[in-house]
């Protein structure tokens, strides 16, 4: 959706901030309800507004902040929250690595600030833009990150402020995050193999979370499923390059063709 608009904007002399806002708009819009929800949850678990502001800027992860809120509610010790956080955030190693090819030649400071404000949602936006738009530069990507960070922090602070005043069904509010991830999965399922890997990841995740009784199951499942996909693709390309499993699905939404890397 946003990509189409940008295509049009480039030919006109629309201000730069509008361009960045357009790229980040889908995430900005979803962050308002999710951020408000997160602020409300953090307030309910005892965080004051200043700490809510700090955690939104320093950690900047919907999943992590929801987790802090729910673990504090069950009075978990500090070390266990930090360990859980580590496993939850470990996935960024994989996301960061997959974006790193677009950041070649950037300074160490740039990489530092880029890493600070990278999360699932702006990663998805930036990855899609980098892979579909040759003109999209790292400095545009970091501005997309900062816009989403700003909207996220404001929404969290407002959520924290109204937290005690309004009663909202928190489990319902939590679904905003699930819906966001579902959207990201759907737009990435480009062939039969990716679809199968997604199903595999789901099954393995559920089994291993039940076994480990922790979010470590998420890390195990991501590693197993992604390596399986990689191995199957490699062997199919070698033996049956025209396999139906690698054929791109027709896309009813008409998203632009991605560049073929390599």
């Amino acid at each position: 959706m946003a990509t189409k608009k940008i295509g049009k904007l480039k030919t006109n002399d629309i201000p730069y901030w509008r361009l960045i806002l357009d790229v980040s708009l889908p995430v900005d819009l979803s962050y308002i309800p999710i951020g408000l929800a997160c602020g409300i949850l953090l307030n309910a678990s005892g965080f004051n507004t200043i700490n809510t502001f700090l955690v939104s800027i320093l950690v900047f992860s919907g999943g992590a902040q929801f987790m802090i809120a729910s673990l504090l509610a069950t009075s978990a010790p500090m070390y266990s929250i930090v360990i859980m956080m580590f496993f939850l955030e470990l996935r960024y190693a994989l996301l960061g690595s997959s974006l790193s090819k677009y950041l070649h030649g950037q300074s160490a400071w740039f990489t530092f600030f880029f890493a600070c404000s990278m999360n699932d949602e702006n990663y998805a936006l930036n990855y899609l833009k980098f892979s579909t738009d040759k003109k999209f530069a790292p400095k545009d990507a970091i501005k997309v990150e900062h816009v989403t960070l700003l909207i996220w922090t404001i929404s969290n602070v407002i959520g924290s402020l109204i937290g005690s005043a309004i009663h909202i069904d928190l489990t319902v509010v939590h679904f905003a995050l699930t819906a966001l991830f579902l959207y990201m999965i759907v737009v990435q399922l480009k062939n039969r193999l990716l679809l199968s890997i997604s199903v595999l990841a789901g099954i393995v995740a559920v089994i291993f979370m039940a076994i480990t009784k922790s979010t470590l199951g998420l890390v195990i499942s991501t590693i197993i499923a992604s390596l399986t996909g990689f191995a199957i693709e490699a062997s199919l390309r070698k033996r049956r390059p025209k396999s139906r499993w690698l054929k791109t699905f027709k896309n009813p939404g008409g998203t632009p063709e991605e560049d073929i890397d390599e």
Partner: protein
């Protein structure tokens, strides 16, 4: 145990470091090196796997990490609708807002 705001502050600082390490180290390591081809091919499967795992946690795992769908009927129905909406509209904002409306409506009426 009731936490003080100072303890919350230290929790945030510790969380910052465990959140920042995994984001910064690989990004920094591969920034100046050529990323091997196999690595990029592998990375093609990482986001899909991770996001599916996260969604399945929300839908099929309860607070005590047992497999359970008890009381998750509104979320499960809404999830199916979100998949359909995302597939046909390709819009993140419409998918999220429609999902919230559906799950809220179902939670009220079921």
């Amino acid at each position: 145990m009731e936490w003080s705001s100072t303890q919350h502050f230290w929790l945030i600082i510790l969380c910052f470091f465990v959140a920042f390490g995994p984001r910064f180290i690989p990004l920094s390591f591969f920034r100046t090196r050529k990323i091997p081809l196999w690595f990029n091919e592998w990375m093609r499967y990482v986001p899909v796997s991770l996001f599916t795992a996260l969604v399945c946690k929300d839908l099929f795992i309860d607070d005590n990490f047992n497999i359970s769908v008890v009381g998750k009927a509104p979320e499960l129905v809404a999830a199916l609708l979100v998949i359909g909406i995302a597939y046909w509209t390709r819009s993140m904002a419409i998918s999220v807002i429609a999902g919230l409306v559906v799950v809220f409506t179902l939670a009220v009426f079921i």
